[in-house]
């Protein structure tokens, strides 16, 4: 990355949180990009909206909960979080179920935002 150049990075998250490693891996990479002071946004689509469903209690599955990391993103100046409206609707969820402040957008609106990015990373 050339010095001083800020690129627009969008991370597209489409997987439920615990069934695969994608959600956790995405968070790791998001934090790396944040360390390089890039323009970062996160989109949550399809089952990815479950990543932000508040109230995880992972004691029973004996896994560490990484939900607090989503709440820490704001400390890294990552505050552009977009959630797909159609995905929420299909899962009986609303913006009130989200563990962090998000902006709810339609698929088409997320698609338009994607078009404005320099880099799109898929998880």
């Amino acid at each position: 990355m050339s010095e001083g150049q800020i690129k627009k990075f969008m991370y597209v998250n489409r997987k439920a949180p615990h069934g695969t490693i994608y959600a956790l891996e995405s968070l790791e990479v998001v934090l790396i990009a944040a360390a390089f002071d890039q323009d970062v946004s996160l989109a949550f689509m399809d089952d990815g909206v479950y990543q932000l469903k508040k109230g995880w209690n992972t004691k029973g599955i004996e896994m560490k909960s990484f939900q607090p990391t989503y709440r820490a993103l704001d400390d890294y100046d990552i505050n552009k979080l977009y959630v797909e409206k159609e995905a929420l609707d299909a899962r009986g969820l609303t913006i009130d179920d989200m563990c962090v402040p998000v902006e709810v957008l339609s698929r088409a609106e997320i698609g338009k935002l994607m078009e404005t990015q320099d880099v799109v990373l898929s998880f």
Binding site: A16, G19, D47, N57, A90, G92
Partner: protein
């Protein structure tokens, strides 16, 4: 027999195939991402409720809790712990995991 589904209903067709295959008197256990099918307002709610007339539906409590959805489980879904999971496997002569 016991059917086990571990994939979310909108991610894979595992639940659809399972429900279309399962015979009356059978049992369905939802685990891992499969538990999302047992939550209020999800797209599979209708077909799961319909299936409950024919088969017993169970969901693993720890997986619901881990996903923050233990407080929105559909009426009629029986919650089990890991011991209950083992009991279900031993109570049924055969078991199919719809991976």
């Amino acid at each position: 027999m016991l059917h086990i589904v571990n994939k979310a209903p909108l991610d894979r067709n595992s639940l659809d195939t399972c429900l279309a295959t399962a015979q009356p008197g059978g049992a369905l256990l939802l685990i891992e991402d499969g538990v999302y099918a047992a939550t209020n307002g999800n797209s599979a709610e209708g077909k799961l409720k319909q299936a409950m007339g024919q088969i017993k539906v169970y969901a693993l409590k720890a997986d619901l809790e881990a996903r923050g959805v233990a407080d929105r489980v559909l009426d009629g879904v029986n919650l089990v712990d890991y011991g209950g999971f083992v009991d279900l496997v031993t109570e049924h002569t055969t078991c199919q995991s719809w991976l």
